[in-house]
Symmetry: C2
Subunit: 229 residues, 2 copies
DNA sequence: TATGTGTTAATTGTCGACAATATTGATGAT
DNA sequence: ATCATCAATATTGTCGACAATTAACACATA
């Protein structure tokens, strides 16, 4: 974990902002490994900044649950447990179900069309390059729905907290899902429900969609654990 | 807003911690009024600390949505809109419904008994001193259910974010609810469902319980708005 | 009077140094 | 050899000062 500071245009005004953003990516992509300790002096030198803005960045990382801090001891990158992953899936079932319902009520026709375009783009990607779709494309879709809910607090929770954690888990566990095709179809049905302004149906479909993912993950974890343990 | 720094035992290790906690209360209770600008130098002097730990405290307040910061400009106490309040109620319907279901699955018998004792304590308070129950007692109950879910991320979301916002709104809008008696009864039914380990019912009852509150709030806001506007 | 501009003042962002706490390693006793 | 104690080291928490940016104000102009 040495070259964290390059690439990414990201034109933020304050140092803490840009460093926070870079650290988010570094953690999510595993460049800074899970469970590893974070040394403030070392990181400050690596970024060529003082510890002031670095600590502010760390505060935000703590807020989005990417690191854990203990007073007078320091910060560690969060280490993920399967149990915690399931917890997050359960929350998503509930919260994104709500998001889908509200999206059906509040999205503009234009936004719904854009959702369609997104799905079409995904279909292309699935044919050529499955890996990208699994890692990021699926997230794009879910994020769009959440934004479509127009519930600012919901959007906030998602983008400051769940979004990064979900990405982290996906990179961490690799999740070469056998559900890619199936998930894509379910996405289509959800958009259909939203277009028909059927909030209840959209909620039900979204909730079940994530629930299926959860059960799939639980199954994979079970199998893996019974092998290794 | 002058004597913010006294009272409350709260033995935290770091200055940022204790100041953050004090500011949370000061904002929630309206000692620092909603929408007001926060001056770092002024607050630092008032607390007798430097701006370093103060800024860390502010970061956390931003994370729990009690203040809003704009780079190079400063921080303001969040100003509440009825619309935003409804957004939060919708999130609670969803999230606390989940919490109730998981509580029915995961709470120990001992914890359920403690819930009962809490309800009994509330009954006393309603008879004598309605105001406390409305402001804090109701919150206690909901918090216990969330904790009972044993879903650490859910607990986290509630205690770092929603909890303070809900208290803030309650202090802000005063909410002399006509639903106190009704709400208390509903709490009882929820506990019954949890004791019977009927997760689905607990979820349904909790969701509807909060939904009723929301509709009540919407009605009151409607009436108030049609008078003032 | 209203509006735009430039200067001053105030506030936020950043830095480096010091104090307080925790970790590490060595030393000695059981 | 194991464990406890203590010194040395490193890390985090806090502070005060400086730099960069924004807000406030006076002044000139239409």
């Amino acid at each position: 974990m040495s070259e964290i500071l390059e690439n990414k245009p990201a034109v933020f005004s304050t140092i803490a902002d840009t460093v926070c953003s870079k650290l988010q990516n570094a953690i999510v992509e595993g460049i800074i490994p899970a469970g590893s300790k974070i040394s403030e002096p070392a990181l400050a030198i690596e970024f060529g900044i003082s510890r002031g803005p670095l600590r502010e960045a760390l505060s935000r990382l703590e807020a989005c649950n990417l690191i854990e801090r203990t007073p007078n001891v320091g910060a560690r990158v969060v280490s993920l447990t399967p149990q915690h992953l399931v917890e997050i899936y359960l929350i998503r079932e509930s919260l994104e179900g709500l998001a889908a319902r509200m999206a059906a009520e509040n999205m503009s026709d234009k936004e719904i069309n854009e959702l369609d375009e997104l799905l079409e783009k995904h279909q292309q990607q699935i044919k050529q390059d499955q890996s990208y779709y699994q890692k990021e494309g699926d997230m794009d879709f879910h994020f769009q729905i959440v934004k479509g809910s127009k519930n600012s607090h919901l959007i906030d929770m998602f983008s400051n907290d769940l979004y990064h954690l979900i990405r982290l888990y996906r990179y961490q566990f690799g999740m070469v899902s056998n559900r890619v095709q199936r998930a894509f179809i379910e996405h289509g049905h959800i958009v259909d429900a939203i277009r028909q302004r059927d909030g209840e149906l959209a909620q039900f479909l979204m909730s079940r969609h994530i629930s299926s993912s959860r059960k799939n993950v639980e199954k994979m974890l079970d199998e893996h654990l019974t092998i290794t343990d």
